[in-house]
């Protein structure tokens, strides 16, 4: 039983990171109907911004840790908005395939610029937050795990408030439902799309920091696998659906952790993706997605 709870805890903390990244994929899909493949590299840049900021600040302090987290989120929000402005906005109205290919191009650009600037050798991420371990009824809980779960939870609540309670959040939903109708009530869709990229990229940066805290070896290609999993999580939950992305992330993280802990650990990714295929066979629109026929 305690073994089960232990794995569940590990799974949730991994899944929370997938969820944070998945939210960015799903929000951008919501307003632009394309998958921003460069998103996983924004996650990587977030970790590196955290690495450099963290070396400037004293280690093992709550204030320092929060400064690193917020700093990386701001830097990546700006990066995401810049990518949208330079790479995607000129393609507004172009076929989705063109935008998709551009996204892959931006992704490769970030990865190899990363290798050029940061170097290809993995770096050790500084311990920015205080570290402690607790034992509760046979369960080993690290402060880092609590940090991941706590920070993710706070960010998701804040996101929920932004999307459902603010003017710009309502505009995001409106643009996602019907871009032309949004323009006709006076929404400047470019501003909303830019904001969406900023928001999604900030969450990816937070994901990058939290990931690096738990797996402290970072390199310019570190975003590829978590990015792919988060993308899968977003599809699993129903692409374009915000609670779906969170659910998909948690589910995928948990499944992956349980498989890792079993005798089939070598096949953890195969099994995780296999589950995805099975779920999509039965629910093609994802767990919380609605299957919609495009109307003319």
């Amino acid at each position: 039983m305690s073994e089960f709870l232990q794995q569940l805890l590990n799974g949730i903390s991994l899944g929370a990171i997938y969820a944070l990244i998945a939210l960015g994929y799903t929000m951008v899909y919501g307003v632009l109907r394309f998958i921003n493949f460069a998103h996983s590299d924004v996650f990587m840049v977030g970790a590196f911004v955290g690495y450099y900021l963290g070396r400037l600040l004293p280690e093992h302090t709550v204030l320092g840790g929060i400064t690193v987290l917020v700093g990386a989120m701001i830097a990546c929000a700006l990066l995401g908005m810049t990518i949208e402005r330079l790479a995607y906005r000129p393609l507004r109205g172009a076929p989705t395939l063109n935008v998709l290919i551009t996204a892959i191009g931006v992704s490769l650009l970030l990865e190899y610029t990363g290798q050029l600037v940061f170097g290809a050798t993995p770096r050790t991420f500084p311990a920015i937050f205080p570290v402690a371990q607790f034992e509760v009824g046979g369960l080993v809980i690290s402060s880092n795990q609590l940090m991941v779960i706590g920070v993710s939870l706070v960010l998701m609540v804040v996101l929920q408030l932004i999307v459902f309670r603010t003017r710009i959040g309502t505009a995001m939903r409106a643009v996602s439902l019907n871009p032309n109708a949004a323009r006709l009530v006076g929404v400047n869709n470019d501003v909303v799309i830019s904001f969406t990229f900023g928001l999604g990229s900030a969450l990816a940066a937070a994901g990058g920091i939290l990931y690096a805290i738990n797996y402290p070896s970072i390199d310019p290609l570190m975003g590829v696998m978590p990015g792919l999993k988060a993308f899968v999580a977003a599809i699993l939950g129903g692409i374009g659906n915000i609670p779906g992305a969170a659910l998909g992330g948690l589910l995928l993280g948990t499944v992956e952790t349980f498989v890792s802990g079993s005798q089939f650990s070598t096949y953890k990714d195969a099994i995780a993706f296999g589950i995805l295929i099975i779920i999509l066979l039965f629910r093609p629109a994802g767990l919380l997605g609605k299957f919609t026929v495009e109307k003319v």
């Binding site: 003017r167 309502t170 505009a171 939903r173 409106a174 439902l177 019907n178 032309n180 109708a181 949004a182 323009r183 006709l184 009530v185 006076g186 929404v187 400047n188």
Partner: protein, 235 residues
């Protein structure tokens, strides 16, 4: 108030409008009638900034607006109720109305406008918390008009308000359109396939055919025009 001059619009190689010209005086209800593919919707979409003209100008309150983005045109008091209503289907009636007031900053004014919208369409107040996608066609049309009114327009463009609506409700909607025009002095450009209805409520009409204005005149005259009767009014 609105002047459209020599408007040319094309979708790729296909010309949708080839030189449309008309003007709409302040306070009037003017209608644009014509069959499918005549260019009625294209004309409205170009005026509201969703489409860019290849040639020609749109002048609103003595200002050229044909190069402005859609949101800037809304902010000048020109609102467009699009064909097919385009309500935000997953948002509640209340949120849809709030989106209509997206560019309005004055809270007291927004509340006042909302009260006015409810006085015109009491049904919207009853359905306030309901998700817009679950409303009937007629109610969605009311919501689409209400949402446009929330932007405090001085000029309202309505694209096929009778489309897909229970016949019983069509009369109500058209009464409301006249009421909005009379009580608030909002100038209205009405696009309709139902030419009988459109000529009934409007004072002046333009007839579009394959991207050109082929006929115009006071509505009560056009109603009796034999050629028009044969083509659009069913004899």
């Amino acid at each position: 108030m609105l002047a459209v001059s020599d408007l040319h619009v094309s979708y790729g190689a296909i010309n949708a409008l080839s030189g449309v010209t008309f003007r709409i005086p302040k306070g009037a209800i003017v209608t644009l009638i014509g069959g499918n593919g005549a260019g009625k919707t294209t004309t409205l979409r170009t005026i509201s900034g969703l489409l860019r003209p290849k040639r020609g100008t749109v002048t609103f309150k003595d200002e050229g607006i044909s190069n402005l983005p859609a949101h800037a045109i809304v902010s000048r008091g020109l609102c467009h109720v699009p064909e097919g209503r385009m309500v935000f289907s997953n948002l509640s009636v209340e949120e849809n109305l709030a989106m209509g007031a997206y560019l309005q900053r004055d809270r007291a004014r927004i509340a006042e406008t909302r009260a006015y919208v409810f006085s015109v369409f009491p049904r919207l107040q009853e359905r306030l918390r309901q998700v817009a996608g679950t409303l009937s066609g007629g109610e969605q049309q009311m919501l689409a008009i209400g949402r446009a009114l929330m932007g405090n327009p001085s000029f309202l463009m309505l694209d096929e308000p009778s489309l897909g609506i229970a016949p019983r409700l069509i009369a109500t909607i058209f009464e409301k359109i006249v009421e909005i025009n009379r009580s608030h002095g909002i100038t209205i450009l009405l696009v309709e396939q139902n030419a009988n209805l459109a000529l009934e409520v409007s004072s002046y009409a333009y007839v579009l055919e394959t991207g050109r204005v082929v006929m115009e005149g006071p509505s009560d005259q056009l109603k009796h025009d034999p050629q028009l009767r044969a083509t659009y009014l069913g004899g």
